[in-house]
Symmetry: C3
Subunit: 137 residues, 3 copies
């Protein structure tokens, strides 16, 4: 199994971004190429000036979920952006900003964190995904 794992990363809450980062790191550790397309609110979360800001959680997290996430942070748990950076060091993880979402949010690549490798459209994303799995997060 050396098929690419592709992720359309749409959601911009810290819990889903963390889940995506852990899966990217896990797949990279297995030697699988990982390709991520950032759309909408996930793209917004990769802005250089706010990648470490509080991006909230899924509504069902509730107060107990919020407290559990905060406890991990206080205990020195890695931020999802650090996990994503580690994933890129471990293996072949490519992160592209979706061109349509760049226009929607009026962003230039210089507005984005250096984790983002470039800008591409949906058709290129599908072509690069090949026959590998695609997750929408």
């Amino acid at each position: 199994m050396d098929e690419t794992i592709s992720i359309v990363l749409f959601s911009g809450t810290d819990d889903k971004l963390q889940s995506a980062s852990v899966m990217a790191a896990g797949a990279a550790a297995l030697g699988r190429p990982v390709k991520i397309l950032l759309q909408y609110w996930a793209l917004d979360a990769f802005r250089a000036d706010r990648i470490n800001a509080d991006h909230g959680l899924a509504p069902e997290a509730g107060e107990a979920g919020r407290a559990a996430m905060d406890a991990v942070t206080r205990a020195g748990g890695a931020h999802w952006s650090a996990t994503m950076r580690a994933a890129k060091e471990i293996g072949d993880v490519d992160i592209q900003a979706c061109s349509a979402s760049m226009e929607l949010l009026k962003l230039k690549q210089t507005d984005l964190d250096s984790l983002v490798d470039g800008i591409e459209g949906v058709a290129s994303f599908f072509i690069n995904a090949g026959e590998g799995q695609i997750l929408f997060i």
Copy 2:
């Protein structure tokens, strides 16, 4: 690559519906068959009498996200339903209402927009997906 791309479309907010429509159009433009199963709140959004209504956005969009989406609309950007209609003209895009969700929402096919081609169950959806990718949106 001429494998089908299948989408379980569950979410009923305009941002996710737009993302799904753009991906359906992109896959169709590549000549790939696209099969969409409408469930729950996405199915509700395809009701003939409210497909163009405001279906809201994911909670993390916030005010800035709302403003960005509205700016696109004011500038004449295509509604997701128009993008989905274009996808059906470009290629082989089949949209089915999930039979269980039809019962849940007490809908008949005549209640739905003409974009919807029929009604099917989850087992048929999996059979039609074959070995192609499946996204849950």
Copy 3:
């Protein structure tokens, strides 16, 4: 087609848990192995002491969606946990708790409903998924 269908089950609202359960049952009925990895709020929803509690709905369900779901319950519709139990009786459905989410929520396996077969990490999940489809719900 006897490829595994894998599901990363992240969301903890009753509508998405129901959708996941129906898809697991549908895939199992087709004779396909199903592997589910419980993360974050979905894992929280499988706690033995609250699996049948009200876990809310996606925000876009609104009051009409809430009423539709309640009407099904009053009419004797199966809870998603019952559908998941049936899926395990029909076929080969394996449910694992994500080890990272177990730590996040400070849970032990004895805190979880008996539907959960064990605990595993993301890398094992990807290995077990093989070349089959993966859905993120």
